[in-house]
Structures are given as structure tokens and as C-alpha cells.
């Protein structure tokens, strides 16, 4: 065994810096899960505090089943994800098919490049874009409303609009990325299928329905299940930056991630935030394992592991 280790030492050494990174930035933070079951108090160094803090079992988790805040964040996270999953799978699918069928290939490339653009922006930048349209006194939308003789809306304190807004912004930003994923598969479909179908007199629509869509089925299944695995996570920037941290909007913008951030960094409650984060990690793991199991059943090749 020792000789085997020595013989492979060269390669092991090459992987060492990466291994150290994983230990520091992926494995040590798992202590956060342990902290969720402790009454964490700072006393001395990092490990000292961890060891001297008392175990409290599920004490930190109680609020999740008792408070209204917890119910709201869980509801929001799940509901937004349901909408996002359906839209982010269905809309890009049709647009990718449109792009692949265009007669003017130059146009197809240009459209794809433009639609991809928002994906490369940060949510902070997007929040400024949104502000240019929704700012109550300067924004384009209110100015249009006023020029039509209507009253402006103070968008950042009217929560009823935001479920639609957030869904729209999320679709807007991710559309290009999802199109690329579909196009990669569509381009890879064997052209002879279409030629054969066309010789048999199949119309273009029939070709799409009976060749393209079935070829994309396993990709759709994989995307769907991967998304299910992350159903308890949310895009922090979308829910925190874009609504400008507006308190009036919390009932429709609070998700598990913004809740964890706010309780930890603003209120400083380590117990509640670590419990929510641990809950998210554990539920996330269960969902991923189940999703992966189902993917394996459908299409072994596509499974994550």
C-alpha cells in the first residue's frame, strides 16, 4: 500500500491544493449544520466556541413550525420555484425550436447573442435597470402612466405586483442560458430522421412533434428533476437586490435564503439562521437524492451519480 502511495505521489501532490480548498471552503463550513443543534456562543477561538457551546437538540428548529415568518418564507420559496421550473423549462424549449428552424441563420445567431446578454449581468446591475423603469418619481412606467392621465404607482411598496415582476425578471435573465442547453441537443439530432419523415410526407409541425420533442424528452426530464432538487433554494440576488430590500414587499419576497441572511447578518441570531440553513441543506439533499434516483430510472446516462 505504501509503495502504491509512493508510486502515485506525483499525481496526488498535483491534486493537493484543490483538496485543501475543498476542506477549507466546503467541508469545514459543514460545521454550520452542527451549530444548528447547539446554543452557539462565542468564547475564545473558533473551535473553542464550537466545543464549549451546549447541545440543545431541535430547540433552534422550533420557530420553523411555530412562526408565521417561517411559513411565509417556505411558501414563497416553494411557490416561486414551481412557477420558475415550469416557465424555465417550457418557454426556452419553444424558443430554441424556433431558433433552430429559422431560415436566416445569421439572424438566428444574432437573436441568440442578444437574448443571452442578460445572463451575464449581476442582479445588482439588474436592480438598477429595474429602477430605471419602476422608480416611483423618475421611472419610465410611472411617467407613461402619468402621460396617459393615470396615477403613478409606488411600485416598491405595492406587494401585489411583485410575484409577477420577480417571475418575469428571472425568466428574462435565464432565458438565453436555457435556450443554449436546448439548442445543444437539438443541433445534435440526426438530420436523417427529418429527411426520412419528410419523404414520408410529414409536415414541419409533425416533424417537430414526432422527432424534435421526443428527442428532447430526456433532457426535459433531467432539467425538471435537477430543478426539483433545488426547490428549497432561491436566487438570493433576485429576491434581495431587485426589490431593493423593501420591507413592504417582504411578504412576497422573503425566501429561505433572504431569511437566513437577514436573521444572521441583520438580527445576529445564529440559532435561527443556522437552523433554517441546515433545514435547507438537509431537505435539499433528500430532494437531490430522490431526483437522482428517478433520473436513473428514466435515463441512466443522465443521472448525476
Amino acid at each position: 500500500m505504501w509503495t502504491r502511495f509512493k508510486k502515485n505521489f506525483g499525481l496526488t501532490a498535483i491534486a493537493l491544493p484543490g483538496l485543501i480548498w475543498f476542506i477549507l471552503f466546503s467541508y469545514l463550513p459543514l460545521i454550520g449544520i452542527v451549530i444548528a443543534f447547539k446554543d452557539y456562543r462565542i468564547s475564545g477561538g473558533f473551535f473553542e466556541s464550537l466545543l464549549s457551546s451546549e447541545w440543545v437538540g431541535f430547540e433552534n428548529f422550533k420557530f420553523m413550525f411555530a412562526t408565521n415568518d417561517a411559513k411565509i418564507m417556505v411558501r414563497n420559496t416553494l411557490l416561486y420555484n414551481v412557477f420558475f421550473i415550469v416557465i424555465n423549462i417550457a418557454v426556452p424549449l419553444f424558443i430554441a425550436i424556433m431558433i433552430s428552424e429559422l431560415l436566416n441563420k445569421q439572424g438566428a445567431k444574432a437573436y441568440q447573442t442578444m437574448i443571452f446578454f442578460p445572463y451575464f449581468l449581476s442582479w445588482v446591475v439588474v436592480s438598477y435597470f429595474v429602477w430605471a423603469f419602476l422608480s416611483p418619481d423618475r421611472g419610465l412606467i410611472n411617467r407613461l402612466l402619468e402621460s396617459l392621465g393615470m396615477d403613478g404607482v409606488s411600485w416598491y411598496s405595492e406587494k401585489k405586483y411583485w410575484p409577477f415582476f420577480l417571475t418575469f425578471f428571472n425568466t428574462w435573465k435565464n432565458l438565453g442560458y436555457n435556450i443554449v442547453i436546448y439548442l445543444a441537443t437539438i443541433v445534435g439530432i440526426d438530420r436523417t430522421y427529418y429527411e426520412a419523415a419528410s419523404l414520408d410526407g410529414a409536415s414541419k409541425w409533425q416533424q417537430v412533434k414526432h422527432i424534435t420533442l421526443p428527442q428532447l424528452r430526456s433532457l426535459v426530464a433531467v432539467l425538471f428533476l435537477m430543478a426539483i432538487g433545488k426547490v428549497f433554494n432561491s436566487d438570493f440576488g433576485l429576491f434581495y437586490q431587485v426589490p431593493r430590500n423593501s420591507g413592504a414587499l417582504f411578504p412576497v419576497t422573503q425566501t429561505v435564503d433572504t431569511y437566513v441572511y437577514r436573521t444572521f447578518r441583520v438580527i445576529g441570531d445564529i440559532g435561527m439562521s443556522s437552523a433554517a440553513a441546515a433545514f435547507q441543506s438537509i431537505v435539499g439533499l433528500v430532494f437531490i437524492l430522490v431526483a437522482n434516483y428517478v433520473i436513473r430510472k428514466i435515463d441512466r446516462e443522465s443521472a448525476l451519480f
Partner: protein
């Protein structure tokens, strides 16, 4: 009849093509117009914005915002510099870590490759969450208010490791490595002088992902940076927004416009900072788009 013949039998009809083009043009416009709007605002005259609000056709154009940034915006330019530094240094460090780690797990003859693969796989499934990360980075590693906190946590990601591993698997034949070994080259030498040069396309893809991640990062700065001298441009935008929110609440409560409010960047200057933040990406990405696409496609390739 002639038109019919010209059409390829696999193509959609002209009418459908027009319809598809219209839909795609609308989507393309939606995708880029917000940025164009912000560019226009940044070149608008401040006074016309105060009186008429943001507009696609400002009453008067002005270069004021950009002049202001050049002349008085030392801290803005400084933040820009910080973003550049973390992007360049981070991308290089990240590439070094990912390229080496992915190479080792791509070697089919390496006996510990399963161990190293699992080490990279587990973080994809399970994470310690915000609290765990914060305590390790801030309290154990003491990286708060250090430039490294903006670099190290983003340097690696299991996803990039697996993308590059797929790339090595598909583009580096075992025979090349075998022959280098027979010639007596060490593992490190084989990696540096044979593997790296033929992996340029894969490295470019990962490098671009990293560059984008660093340039667009504000989350780590928001968590760990208080010091003015270390604020990257994305976080600068957040701070400006927070200060304005705070002061507008304050002045509306007290009915005064304080001296501080006047010193804050004006509407056009804020939008000019946004433009300066987006411009490098907007200029570069159309040329590198194929690498992104290549990377995303590679991610889907299983061994």
C-alpha cells in the same frame, strides 16, 4: 411554383419564418433595451431628469456623469480597480486549482481518483449554509476585510471541475500521457508541458466562467467587507443605493435635504457607474460566447 422549388424540403414556410423572426426580434429587444435605456440615462442632462424623469429621448444630452467620475470619482475608480484585480488574480488562481484537480481525477490509471471525485461531488449535494461558511471564513480563517475573501471562496467549484474533467477525458488520449511517462517525464512536467498546451479551449471556457463570476460578485463583499479601500464595483453600487435609501428616509422625516445628500452621486452618475460595470462584459462576451456555449455543452457530456 418557382418559389416552392427553391425551398428546401426540410424548411419551415416563409410565413412561419416571418412569424418566428418577429417573436425573436421582440425577445431580443426586451433583452438589450434595459441596458440601452440605462446608457441613455447616463448621457442625459441631470436637470432634464429631475424635471421629466428617465426618458429614452432626453431633452438635453450631457457628458457630465462621465466627467464627474473621471474628476471626482476617485473611490469609484478605486473600486473598479479592486474588481479588476480580484477578477484577474482570482481567475488565475481558480484556473490553477481547477486545472490540476480535474486533471488528477481524469487520469483513469490513478488509483485514488474515486476518492478525489467523491470529495468534489459531496459539496454539490450538501453545503454548510451561510452560517457555517461565515464562521469559517470570518472567524477561523480570519479573512474578514482582506482581499483574499473576495478571491478564495470563488476560486473553485465542483461543477467547473467536472466540466474540465470531461474535457480532458474527451480531448487527451491516454497514449500521449503514457508516452511521456515512458520518456521519463515527471507527473508535474507531463501536466505542464503536454496536458495544458492541448487543453487551451477547455481552460478558456473555465477561465471565462471564473472571470464572469468574479466580476459580477457582490455577495462575498456584502458579507465580509466593511473597509472602503476593498470595495469592488458591484458592492459599491449596493452601498450607494443603501445610502440613498437611508438618506431619503432621513430627509423625508426631518424635511431637510442634508449636505450629505448633495454629495452623493447624482442619478446620471449612478447610471454611468452601472454602464461602466456592464460595458466590459457587453464588449467581450459576443466574441467569447462560443466558449460559454462549448462549456455548457461539455457539462452535459458524460464519460
Amino acid at each position: 411554383m418557382k418559389r416552392q422549388k427553391k425551398r428546401h424540403y426540410l424548411d419551415i414556410s416563409e410565413g412561419t419564418n416571418v412569424l418566428f423572426n418577429i417573436i425573436l426580434i421582440i425577445l431580443s429587444i426586451l433583452a438589450v433595451v434595459p441596458f440601452i435605456f440605462v446608457v441613455i440615462i447616463s448621457f442625459s442632462d441631470e436637470a432634464s431628469i429631475v424635471s421629466k424623469g428617465y426618458s429614452f429621448v432626453p431633452e438635453r444630452w450631457s457628458l457630465y456623469a462621465y466627467k464627474y467620475i473621471l474628476e471626482n470619482g476617485a473611490d469609484i475608480l478605486h473600486s473598479y480597480g479592486i474588481s479588476l484585480i480580484i477578477t484577474i488574480v482570482g481567475t488565475l488562481i481558480g484556473l490553477a486549482l481547477i486545472a490540476t484537480y480535474a486533471y488528477v481525477i481524469s487520469r483513469s490509471t490513478y488509483p485514488y481518483k474515486n476518492f478525489f471525485t467523491i470529495v468534489a461531488l459531496i459539496p454539490m449535494l450538501f453545503s454548510g449554509g451561510l452560517v457555517g461558511n461565515y464562521l469559517v471564513v470570518a472567524r477561523l480563517l480570519n479573512l474578514k476585510n482582506s482581499i483574499w475573501v473576495l478571491i478564495l471562496p470563488l476560486a473553485m467549484s465542483p461543477f467547473y471541475v467536472f466540466v474540465l474533467k470531461s474535457f480532458y477525458r474527451t480531448s487527451i488520449p491516454d497514449a500521449i500521457i503514457e508516452s511521456a511517462r515512458i520518456d521519463g517525464a515527471s507527473e508535474l512536467r507531463t501536466f505542464l508541458s503536454i496536458v495544458l498546451p492541448i487543453s487551451k479551449a477547455g481552460l478558456a471556457t473555465i477561465g471565462l466562467f471564473l472571470t464572469l463570476g468574479y466580476w459580477n460578485d457582490w455577495y462575498n463583499a456584502m458579507l465580509y467587507i466593511d473597509e472602503q479601500a476593498l470595495i469592488p464595483i458591484q458592492y459599491m453600487l449596493i452601498r450607494i443605493e443603501n445610502n440613498i435609501n437611508f438618506l431619503s428616509q432621513l430627509s423625508s422625516q426631518q424635511g431637510i435635504v442634508s449636505e450629505v445628500t448633495r454629495n452623493l452621486p447624482s442619478e446620471t452618475v449612478r447610471m454611468a457607474i452601472v454602464v461602466l460595470t456592464v460595458t466590459p462584459i457587453a464588449c467581450v462576451y459576443p466574441f467569447f460566447q462560443k466558449y460559454f456555449v462549448g462549456g455548457l455543452t461539455l457539462g452535459a457530456v458524460k464519460e
